[in-house]
């Protein structure tokens, strides 16, 4: 069975390269829990164009699979989960804060 369409828009911050997510009010957050959850493919197409327009803030926008939890949207794939934390060999990146 095809997985239902549940996505978030993500990118890297232009200056630091840190993982960021696109929120409902068109800003970028360092926390995936703030991300806008997209469940409609056509709407997602529009939102990603809007997100891409923000060239002086971000690099490399894409849609990532997500799931909705009590704490807000969360990653599905392990790659996206690492992006919310940082590397596993040092406590650098987001987990450091």
């Amino acid at each position: 069975m095809a997985r239902p369409f549940v996505k978030v828009i993500t990118a890297n911050a232009l200056l630091e390269g840190d993982a960021i997510w696109f929120t409902q009010n068109g800003t970028w957050s360092r926390n995936i829990a703030d991300a806008e959850v997209l469940t409609d493919e056509a709407h997602a197409d529009i939102r990603i164009l809007e997100a891409q327009a923000d060239q002086s803030a971000i690099a490399g926008v894409y849609l990532a699979d997500a799931k909705v939890t009590d704490a807000g949207p969360a990653p599905v794939h392990f790659r996206e989960a690492f992006r919310t934390r940082g590397p596993s060999n040092y406590s650098h990146g987001k987990q450091e804060a």
Partner: protein
Amino acid sequence: MYVYNDFDEAFVRTRVAQFRAQVERRIDGSLTEDEFKPLRLMNGLYLQLHAYMLRVAVPYGTLNSAQMNKLAYLADTYDKGYGHFTTRQNIQYNWPELRDVPDMLSDLADVGMHAIQTSGNTIRNVTADHFAGAAKDEIEDPRPVAELLRQWSTDHPEFQGLPRKFKIAVTGCEADRAVIRAHDIGIQIVRNAAGEIGYKVIVGGGLGRTPMIGKVLSDFVSKADLLPYCEAIVSVYNLLGRRDNKYKARIKITLHENGIDKIQDLLNALFEQIQSLFGGFDQQLLAEIEHSFAPPAFKVKSTDGYDAARLANPAFRSWTDTNLSDHRADGYAIVSISIKKHGATPGDATSAQMRVMADLAAKYGHDELRISHEQNVILPHVHKSDLLAIYTALRAADLATANIGLISDIIACPGMDYCALATARSIPVAQEIATRFDELKLEHEVGPLKIKISGCINACGHHHVGHIGILGLDRAGVENYQITLGGDGTETTTIGERAGPGFGADEIVPAVERLVLGYLDLRMSPSETFLQAYRRLGAAPFKDILYPEKAAQNAA
């Protein structure tokens, strides 16, 4: 060693200034990411999972102490106090901020370093045997030729838009420590029957998605012909190499699809034209370069103290047993400093460790350091009477691990802890294997064994040529590790054979342990290495050890 001339210096400075302007235009939004990306890649700047990454070239792996100290300074000033040495004899910084990168490049230029052509479809950093100029078995130092090739290829107008990246490696002896058969062009310095020095040229090796061992294109190219010959090879590739499919774009595929005879014919025709255009200037240049690689003034001194220290101190003796190699000068040794402490990240050195190594090179090592493709640091020229002092200083800096060539001396690419292309992590697997075998206290008993780990099919961790290779994959959203066996990255290059189905993240370390313990039972004697036992017995008994249930079924 080679020192930049005015031309090199001006060229690098100009590039830094250009890049500074490009970064400014990117930050103010006048360049989009699509426009900026090729520009940053040309300057070694990647965007990874959590941050940017700057890849700095260490041409043919050679550094002096001022350069190593500068790398330490960069790690402290712009990064998190460490750097990662890679299999391409580069150093990577994992946490620079975009705004700082032009300053980093400018600081590097102060010591004659840069990040040019560490990326993109160009001729990349030319690598060489990390024992160059020191190895006992060497015909000639390969670095002058590597430097000549570097100068020729840097900013070469015809070769900035090749079908794909192009990697050249050079070695000065039969023993291959530079994996030349897995490069686009591999060059081995040889002597012909008349005693003249020339080059054996191997083409079309590579790892990645389609691993191939290079084929000998010529057994002997004379010194004067080398540059035109290489130019002809790259020109033929530029013409025939596929641009429609990046997975079929490397020269190994060009060679495979067109056949070596067709390539030879085209090459020979082109070579004659190109040769006549070179006019000998390159040979004049080579002579100058060779001059700057003149060997240091080796000292003559007694080694009695060293022999006595070895007898008196077992830990020192163990370190000298594993971490030294034969030097061509009497009384000298080549020291390999392991950047593979058990449980640490392979290839990562802190700024403090870099400074210690730089100081040791300045004080005892004729001011030379090397980065090996096995992600270790080498002091190529050390008199044996200084070894105890060096060992003591290394120990204090947590750099005295006695494991060169052993199971915990693992090559691992950054994998999904950093790399945006990864399909699984590789660093934690390396950390766990090393930690486990340290607990078992078995690695010296196991003897020479090379484990190499890549976090995706691109094979940056050379897994295809590991005695045990590990490839991390994504199987339905879960990390999965495939084992290959019997690979070899030396002069007897062999691509490892896939053992069977992959292992989950919690199964891979026990699988490796089973395999290695099983080898101890299979070997004829303690002197038969893992690779020798594998070659003698074939894959079957090793597969039975890896997949005991399947073996039991077959037996039933």
